[in-house]
Amino acid sequence: MARRLDLEHVNIYYGNFHAVSDVSLMVPPHSVTAFIGPSGCGKSTVLRTINRMHEVIPGARVEGRVLLDGEDVYGPGVDPVDVRRTIGMVFQRPNPFPTMSIRDNVVAGLKLQGVKNKAKLNETAEQALRAANLWDEVRDRLNKPGGGLSGGQQQRLCIARAVAVAPDVLLMDEPCSALDPISTLAIEDLISELKRDFTIVIVTHNMQQAARVSDQTAFFNLRATGEPGQLVEIDQTQKIFANPTQRATEDYITGRFG
């Protein structure tokens, strides 16, 4: 079930380094939000903060609130494992589990959460692979290792794996950056379909992609190197691309940067 996501005055640190300052934004359910901005401005950092992956890094910490349907994922007593089960993530580089077959990769989340029922696992695997537009390509080699797929197929396998645990929100960190235009289009189509079931946040360096897939776009920027990254503006995608309120946004989008 798709849910609404709110960030309220989020500040993110790596040890003493203040990486992102004071981000507040709202992501409605069943929508796609794109994060754009120059390299190093903290897009990945914000994304990883949403599902508490940030704190995996030693010394990393977060201030502020991240609310999922009004409930703070950083609240006292909230288990980060539960949060990550509810908020799934797809990484920039495809990372299938090398010891597992294609099928096992897709249902790895369920299996490791203790689901044993073979029939259910097989059914979920098929559904997830269909959802990721990969079923037809792998249906007769489900028992082969996942590492044997092409890069684009591996990325879709990772999307299937994230979808299979049925999260409410799906975070995608530059899911197409290593892919050819055809795989990229396949994944963009997929994102528009996944919107029906999930709330999606996607980081991308590709303006056209942001314009094609997203409903709203958030522009992040760095005032100067060494300064924390910040959210410059967030608005409907058409508005951001047609007439942004901030000068920096317009410069970035039109390529007049710096």
Binding site: M53, P58, P98
Partner: protein, 301 residues
């Protein structure tokens, strides 16, 4: 002819390999080959010697099914199954203790240590332990197990000394193998809502397994040839002793040591036979390691 005049005289793009470089290449090739031969010749020589003197001994069936019990020192025949039993059980007991301890320490260092004080101390200790000579480990066990705690000299005491030698090796292998598992895999697992311990057990360890298994098998092979702990911690018995906790017990290195003092042809035969048997056992373990490593290796296609 006129065509060449049209073009400016330019030096050709590619030049033949210069004489100096050619010479240096020859020299380096010769040196590398010489080093290779220098390393391989003694190795083959050892193997050849062991085989030459040992083969006729180990091919008799009594060798594998009898002990040396009741044989006088000049009498030919008999076998070393008592020593094979000793070597294998001592190694097995050692493995039963060392593998879990070594694995867990390795996992702690990589997955939970996080550059803490305890991690640094542990790494330092493991480094020191790696350098402890086997005779020192044996004397330590003698002092602790036999002098202070009052247990008799036994095969088990030998196993304890071997544990001291094997644990640091396993810690090291485990550590190295776990460190090369990409962090991406751990993060991918966390992002699926898998708890950390399950990520380690189901994702990280299987990915590193083949390397860990190889390391363990090699450590085991190494430990089976250790002689110092045997000399210090157990007496040699020419007959079978099934009791690991009491009494003299044979092991293959001990057979060699004791038969070396036996100047008769029978003694020489037994010595080389035991040597070849030990080499065969260790080879078997190495082969086993290769097979296991292959089976658990990551498959790409």
């Amino acid at each position: 002819m006129t065509r060449t005049l049209d073009r400016p005289a330019a030096s050709p793009l590619f030049r033949p390999i210069s004489t100096g470089r050619r010479l240096r290449n020859r020299l380096a090739t010769a040196l590398v080959t010489a080093a290779f031969l220098l390393a391989v010749v003694p190795l083959l020589w050892v193997l050849y010697t062991v085989l030459r003197f040992g083969v006729k001994v180990v091919t008799s069936s009594a060798w594998w099914t009898h002990s040396l019990s009741g044989l006088l020192s000049f009498q030919a025949g008999g076998g070393v199954y008592h020593a094979i039993y000793g070597t294998l059980t001592q190694a097995l007991v050692c493995a039963v203790f060392s593998i879990p301890i070594g694995l867990m320490v390795g996992i702690y260092l990589v997955e939970y240590g996080a550059r803490s004080r305890l991690e640094k101390i542990t790494t330092f200790m493991v480094d020191i332990l790696t350098g402890v000579p086997s005779i020192v480990a044996a004397l330590f066990v003698y002092a602790l197990w036999i002098t202070i705690l009052g247990f008799p000299r036994s095969g088990f005491a030998v196993s304890l000394a071997l544990v001291l030698l094997m644990v640091p090796v396993i810690v090291r292998t485990t550590e190295e193998m776990l460190r090369i598992v990409p962090n991406d895999l751990r993060e991918a697992s966390y992002a699926l809502g898998v708890p950390k311990w399950k990520t380690i057990v189901k994702i990280v360890i299987p990915t590193a397994l083949s390397g860990i298994v190889t390391g363990i098998m090699l450590a085991l092979a190494r430990v089976m040839g250790e002689t110092a702990p045997l000399l210090v911690l157990v007496g040699y018995a020419p007959f079978i002793n099934y009791n690991l906790f009491e009494g003299n017990m044979a092991a293959l290195p001990l057979v060699m040591v004791s038969e070396r003092n036996n100047p008769t042809p029978a003694g020489v035969d037994r010595m080389w036979g035991a040597a070849l048997t030990l080499v065969l056992l260790i080879t078997l373990f190495n082969l086993l390691a290769t097979v296991v490593a292959r089976r658990s290796a990551i498959k790409a296609k």
